[in-house]
Symmetry: C2
Subunit: 259 residues, 2 copies
């Protein structure tokens, strides 16, 4: 990604954090929705930058800036503005803000770091999340272009890349910390959302060399007593129970080896 | 409406303006999204009230408050929070925040003051508006309830009530200001959106006692050179041209009467 795209727009998160993350990943030129609003405040008629936001947003000439990709790294704090800017770019002539494509198929690709419509937070009921934002961008694009389809990419769970990345991280950690230079035999994957965590783990397990073991907890999006859309290998109450389940299973394994 | 509903939630606009408008209309008990967030900050995980917002939001016990209707009077300043709160109520047991209905058909009715997906502002390209927000609430409701339909109501153009209301206002104004106690013979309706302004005017004209004359301007949502979805009686460049067109037409009328 870092080699593929020169200038990227990052969306979401608090303040400048997502820009810092993207620059940390090695992206050469990172812009934010704040930069675009600072360039043209008419972009978002109901949103004025605060003084602090205006100060840290960067001044540049967007008529000469080709935005090559959009990354939604963390949840958007301002849906109306972020959706507007993503649609402006998706409908632009080749990623130049302020232009309008004749064909609506030359805008930058939009990547979302996950695709869950809902997630579980401190509130009793689930909260809407990034998957809902993605859906809105796609639906409004179709509406505004009178029928053109916008294909965005979600790179989080249940996408295979996420599991491959986790596998590489685990292998590296085992090597560096424990000097064991082979992948773990079993990976216990604890999740609260059948449609992403469990679906992804089960799918990945089908072709993985090691055993990816899906555990669903009742303390998140999934509600106890209902039928999960994707079935976990085991269902437990809390994350602590999941950890204990994994440890117990491993210990029994070891015991059998000794006998 | 004022007699029908005791406690209503108003959404949109700057600060407390919509609450003031609703109280001005005579609603007995008006709550805002800010009141709900003040009651339970977990409602909107990515949104903290500012000190000013917290001070002016009202403290109350929402476990004992039945919200009977929701009115979106002006454009939402915070889509994520407003959509979340509208969905929470639409999915609630009879309008009690924090509850979850078993049947998802007992939430308060949601009214939107207009239904335009896009509108024309200072930006070169059209901006997304309240119609987009309405669409998102309906689509996400269907998603979260696994297929239930949410029927919201848009009470602006092209709804007949808006034109009836304008007729009453015009008649009252003519009576009070000009002592003419009859409706105007011709009403020139100037609009920039074929799908709402022109559609509504033409529809209303079919059954109106007087002549509702639709004029479309090129300076707004409608783009010159394209075929409008709903045809106006006349198409002009700007609002000033529309006014001049109406005056000229009326003067010619008068001249013919004299001859």
């Amino acid at each position: 990604m870092v080699e593929k795209y020169k200038t990227v727009l990052v969306v979401g998160g608090e303040g400048e954090k997502c820009r810092e993350v993207a620059e940390g990943y090695g992206f050469q030129d990172v812009v934010t929705p704040g930069d675009i609003i600072k360039y043209n405040e008419a972009t978002t008629p109901f949103r004025r930058l605060t003084n602090e936001e205006r100060a840290r947003s960067r001044r540049r000439d967007f008529s000469k800036t080709r935005i090559e990709a959009i990354f939604v790294f963390a949840d958007s704090r301002d849906w109306a503005s972020d959706i507007q800017i993503m649609l402006d770019l998706a409908m632009s002539k080749g990623g130049y803000i302020g232009t309008l494509s004749d064909t609506f198929d030359e805008g930058p690709t939009i990547y979302f770091s996950h695709n869950d419509i809902v997630w579980s937070a401190a509130h009793d009921n689930v909260r809407i999340g990034m998957g809902a934002l993605r859906k809105m961008v796609e639906i409004l694009f179709k509406d505004l272009t009178k029928g053109k389809e916008l294909e965005t990419i979600a790179f989080g769970k249940p996408q295979i890349g996420t599991f491959q990345f986790a596998t590489r991280l685990l292998q590296q950690w085992r090597k560096e910390e424990h000097h064991i230079n082979r992948p773990p035999e079993t990976v216990y994957f604890v999740g609260d959302t059948p449609e992403s965590d469990i679906k992804g783990t089960n799918n990945y397990n089908e072709n993985a060399k090691n055993d990816w073991y899906s555990i669903l907890v009742n303390t998140g999006v999934y509600q106890e007593g209902t039928e999960p859309t994707y079935k976990p290998r085991v269902n437990v109450s809390t994350v602590l129970d999941a950890v204990q389940y994994g440890i117990k299973r491993e210990m029994e394994w070891k015991l059998e080896e000794i006998r």
